[in-house]
Symmetry: C2
Subunit: 277 residues, 2 copies
């Protein structure tokens, strides 16, 4: 048993789809979520810059004595998971390996599509991860930068977003994929529209759902579940405006967010300033 | 639904521990097992030679229209899984990735021991596989060629085998491992004795159990379970003596083996000869 909280973070609000899945699959666990909304989006940033952000955020979450870190951001997972795992002593998972693994298991014709941000797709991380499980899988990946913007604008159904999805998916469908990884934490909100465009023959893989599933496996094997009892309140931290986080975040979380705490990163630099003061 | 059988093979009888786990976890599936007893052991053979054997055996199993192949041999998985996945169109898994994954999930101090044959340990496959899931895990691996011989001789308890296990494990225990991968399909039969020597603080990971678990996940996600009903009889093929296979195999399988079919490999060469004849 280990009743410490689980720390989860993303560039903005998309990672709340992972929190939502963790709350569904692990209802007794306490979650702490940090959304780096002040520096959103991560997609166009360099891997080096993202590694710096990830280390700052993990240092911040460790203040709350978290037992586990989930990098609930595809771009940050691709850029910094390995470095973070090598540096920190607590277990850290990202969203890429769980999604890749589920896709390899689900595909029947071994043709898998991957959609995500520019940073995620450029990294090739989903492909590398799938190949370690099935060296013969064929991956078809495509950066869809516009799709996260539709979600940010809350335009998740309708002609325009359907048209954009169709435009992106058409080449993947022609390549004969039978499974599609939603490789961005924003995309679960588009899953109904994506399913409508993709048709019944393509299985959608949600990294959010798979990551929560993987987290559950880890906690089970380590015998590190939180002791049952009263369901703990999740806590939310934001580097940007609390009001915006609360309003927009509710859509990603699928429930109201009562309270958001504003924090200023880089946390370490701030601590140093206080100590020196 | 997919009612075709699952093809499983190993260098000898050790892979029957994987069949036993598949029969336990997937009681409705039909299993076909090929034990390459005529060419046992694989441990000291080169990777190139093992790849040749693996392709021959898969060609043989495909005659029976199997839906899935399990390379239930650590040495063969390390040498040939990737090449086989790239060549064949049906899904193929080995025993290494499932064991590696379970160990990474189970360890608390991120120090994992691996024991296996010379071929398995030399390949470094468990370490590579663990690092793709947790780049910060520390792996301590050791070839234990003698242990499979104890199992072959049915000497699975007693002073001598305990002494050998203690001699092998002592350095790993001093390295502070908290989890130990049994990286040879012979070792599940030694697990009680290994547990006795290792003590309660070290979690044993059975690749046999984890591989069956992974197979189940694959079939579930692909919606490829066999339709229920009468439990099908497993079939056993041997490249060596049927009588010996039946007698010794029962220990690995944990139940009697009614019938063993002798086959002569290389199958392809034989077919060619017949065609040419």
């Amino acid at each position: 048993m280990d009743s410490r909280p689980i720390g989860i973070f993303d560039s903005g609000l998309g990672g709340l789809t992972v929190v939502s899945e963790i709350m569904r699959q692990l209802p007794h666990e306490q979650t702490l979520y940090f959304g780096d909304t002040a520096r959103f989006p991560y997609g166009p940033r360099s891997a080096e810059e993202l590694r710096g952000f990830v280390f700052e955020i993990i240092d911040f979450l460790l203040i709350y004595d978290v037992k586990f870190i989930v990098i609930a951001c595809n771009s940050a997972s691709a850029a910094a998971l390995e470095a973070a795992q090598q540096f920190y002593s607590i277990p850290i998972i990202g969203v890429i390996e769980p999604g890749a693994r589920a896709a390899v298991q689900a595909t029947r014709n071994r043709r898998v599509g991957v959609i995500g941000t520019q940073a995620t797709i450029s990294s090739g991380s989903y492909i590398t991860s799938m190949k370690t499980i099935d060296a013969g899988v064929k991956a078809y990946s495509l950066a869809c930068p516009e799709l996260a913007d539709f979600v940010e604008r809350d335009e998740i159904t309708g002609e325009r977003v359907e048209g954009a999805i169709k435009w992106y998916l058409d080449p993947l469908v022609r390549d004969g994929i039978d499974s599609l990884i939603l490789g961005c934490t924003h995309y679960p909100l588009l899953s109904e529209t994506i399913a409508k465009v993709a048709g019944d023959d393509i299985t959608l893989i949600s990294s959010a759902e798979e990551t929560a599933r993987e987290l559950k496996e880890f906690l089970q094997r380590k015998d590190s579940f939180r002791e049952g009892g009263v369901r703990p309140e999740p806590r939310f931290f934001s580097s940007g405006d609390e009001g915006v986080f609360g309003r927009l975040g509710a859509r990603f979380l699928g429930q109201e967010i009562a309270r958001v705490e504003r924090v200023h990163l880089p946390f370490k630099a701030k601590v140093n300033r206080v100590e020196k003061g």
